[in-house]
């Protein structure tokens, strides 16, 4: 059995250099143009614009209630936008009912038809197209093989496990060969291990079929594992769109940095910014050097964002630099097996987190509770956020 250790994404052949979003000539498969949707007084989606390209595995990420499901339902046709347009291959979808849209949705609850067998569930969409019977049978068989459910054709949904039901729902949604497959938290009901396996199967499936997948999730790790690109949402708006690496390494705001992974934020004032680096005067009186220009005037309030795994922790004061070094006391040590997490109370009262990967077997902890430690990092490790 293969254990998933790190979010590594297998990229098969053609997907390796896949980046249509970087090509200014490419036209998107789906385009949201200033789309807004209100429910009474609540604005579920607010004037949002977004392009999704053919063949992409796109993730919508955000906290509960931020409008992810609503966005997906707008695309599927279950909700109509109050403002703006939704285009599919350049054509406005307005007024087109769900049953005419070339998209298919995999529902969070799976919504399998309880009175129909697995094969009849999968065949349902094809029968609506009036596909000839032998062709339907062949397609159903192909779909069952695709989701590894051969031999389950005659079962009723209530005789299936959660994982099997999820696959039937996937097969049913894929059977019509949709232009875009919409998945609303498809793995929310699976246990952790099954979820990890399913994630890999989804990636493989998507690469094999080349269908555009749009997935909704509130699990940032899942979004990063699955997606070619992801959009981070906050209260009905998209705050950043990019590849998982871009979002993680270059978050555009404190909200994104905090939502996607753990982050240390050090508040300070910008003292100088140049072509390739900038200086920040931290609140604790420490000088911070960042290998990055900042789009703000000196004196502006900024935040230096630093991922915990990029922080060095040591008992000695680092000799090489007077910058990017902070002293504090260890207040908590967490041992996670592959990682150790140190929470350090800085001398100015702020709390910082540093993680160390346990490369050798931990026999004796060298740094422990109440130790005086120094946290330091190179200028390339941090970034400056102005929002």
């Amino acid at each position: 059995m293969v254990e998933r250790a790190q979010p590594i994404k297998p990229r098969l052949g053609p997907k390796r250099d896949f980046a249509p979003w970087a090509d200014p000539a490419a036209s998107p498969l789906v385009r949201f143009e200033r789309v807004a949707k209100r429910f009474g007084a609540i604005s579920a989606v607010g004037r949002l614009s977004l392009d999704i390209f053919a063949g992409e595995f796109f993730a919508l990420l955000g906290p509960s209630g931020c409008g992810k499901t609503t966005l997906l339902r707008l695309l599927a046709g279950f909700e109509t936008p109050d403002e703006g347009r939704i285009l599919l291959e350049g054509a406005d979808l307005a007024g087109m009912p769900p049953y005419r849209r070339p998209t298919n949705m995999m529902f969070q609850s799976y919504a399998l038809f309880p009175h129909l067998s697995v094969e009849r569930n999968i065949a349902f969409g094809l029968e609506q197209e009036r596909m000839p019977k032998p062709q339907i049978a062949a397609r159903v068989e192909e779909m069952l093989a695709l989701v590894k459910l051969e031999g389950f054709a005659r079962r009723k949904p209530d005789r299936l496990s959660g994982g099997e039901r999820q696959r039937v729902a996937l097969a049913r949604a894929l059977a019509k060969r949709p232009k875009a497959l919409l998945l609303d938290e498809p793995m929310a009901a699976l246990d952790k291990k099954l979820r990890a396996e399913t994630q890999f199967e989804l990636i493989e499936l998507q690469a094999k079929l080349g269908t555009t997948f749009v997935i909704v999730t509130h699990d940032q790790e899942e979004a990063m594992i699955l997606a070619d690109r992801m959009a981070v949402m906050e209260r009905g708006r998209i705050v950043q769109v990019g590849t998982p690496a871009e979002i993680y390494e270059q978050p555009s705001s404190r909200y994104v940095a905090d939502f996607v992974g753990d982050v240390n934020l050090l508040e300070g004032r910008l003292t100088a910014t140049g072509a390739s680096e900038s200086l920040v005067h931290g609140n604790g009186g420490v000088q911070l050097r960042i290998a990055q220009p900042v789009d703000a005037a000196p004196g502006a309030l900024v935040w230096v964002a630093l991922r915990p795994e990029k922080v060095r922790i040591g008992l000695e004061r680092p000799t090489e630099a007077r910058e990017n070094a902070l002293a504090g006391t260890v207040v908590d040590v967490g041992y996670l097996g592959n990682l150790s997490v140190y929470k350090v109370r800085l001398d100015d009262g702020a709390l910082m987190t540093a993680t160390l990967s346990n490369r050798t077997r931990l026999v004796e902890r060298t740094i422990g509770w109440n130790d005086r430690v120094w946290l330091s990092w190179p200028p390339e490790a941090a970034i400056v956020l102005t929002r």
Binding site: Y99, F124, R172
Partner: protein, 258 residues
């Protein structure tokens, strides 16, 4: 007090005499007189047609109830059950009032200009059907509502998403999933309607002689208990099949629910 038990030897002759007293003559009489056969057939006909009418009226009603906003649903159920607060008999008498020559119904038709002069509704088949459909409406609507209300909205959305227009989704998803309600409601109406007495007696005329009325006449007017009992036994035999089907389904549903 002392009980006197007959000696064993005297039981057998008694039993023999009892069995000899039994006869199928009365059952034969049922077959010979066309009146009984006509009453049975009429009862089955009325029950079948009214059940169909109840289904045709009750299904859209129950469907609308199940699709109404949650808060409204409780009130609609309440409205359906409300007539039970008044005696059944009083409600049927009220229909006599409504349907009579100068009753509410005729006044309304006249006011709307649908008819030129009052129509004699009472003592007709129509009046019987109106009375039956009105009285049994809750028995049809409630099981249908219970079945329809259980169907998740996401199933309709999934059907639409897979390319089924609303009427097709209704036919392929809603109807099959509400079948337990259709069967329960239909049997719950059909079985008692076959033996219905009060409604045809009060609202109907001689044209709608149902078996319940025949039974009543034999028992209380003619005081011919043997023939009356034969009528009742045959009626029971007729209804035992649908009753068994209903019982079986109910038992299965309870099993599945638990």
């Amino acid at each position: 007090m002392r009980r006197v038990f007959p000696p064993a030897c005297s039981i057998l002759p008694t039993l023999r005499r009892f069995l000899a007293g039994l006869s199928f003559d009365n059952y034969a009489a049922l077959g010979s007189d066309r009146l009984y056969l006509a009453a049975y057939l009429k009862s089955l006909e009325v029950a079948a047609f009214s059940t169909l009418m109840l289904l045709a009226l009750g299904y859209p009603f129950a469907y609308a109830m199940a699709r109404a906003p949650r808060r409204l649903q409780a009130m609609l159920v309440m409205l359906v059950v409300l007539p039970f607060w008044t005696s059944f008999l009083i409600r049927v008498y009220a229909w006599i009032n409504i349907l009579q020559r100068d009753g509410l119904f005729n006044q309304m038709l006249l006011a709307l200009g649908i008819v030129e002069e009052p129509v004699g509704w009472l003592s007709t088949n129509t009046a019987v059907y109106i009375g039956i459909v009105y009285s049994y409406f809750p028995f049809m609507v409630l099981p249908l509502y219970a079945a329809l209300e259980k169907i998740e909205v996401s199933l309709h959305e999934a059907a639409a998403d897979l390319g089924a227009p609303p009427w097709k989704a209704f036919w392929r998803i809603t109807v099959p999933l509400s079948r337990p309600g259709i069967v329960a409601g239909s049997l719950l109406c059909f079985i008692p309607i076959v033996g219905e007495f009060v409604i045809p007696d009060l609202l109907g005329g001689s044209a709608t002689l149902m078996i319940g009325q025949t039974l009543w006449t034999e028992f209380f007017a003619n005081r011919d208990w043997p023939i009356a009992s034969a009528v009742a036994v045959v009626l029971l035999c007729l209804l035992i099949v649908p009753i068994l089907i209903y019982q079986h389904r109910q038992a299965r549903e309870i099993e599945q629910g638990g």
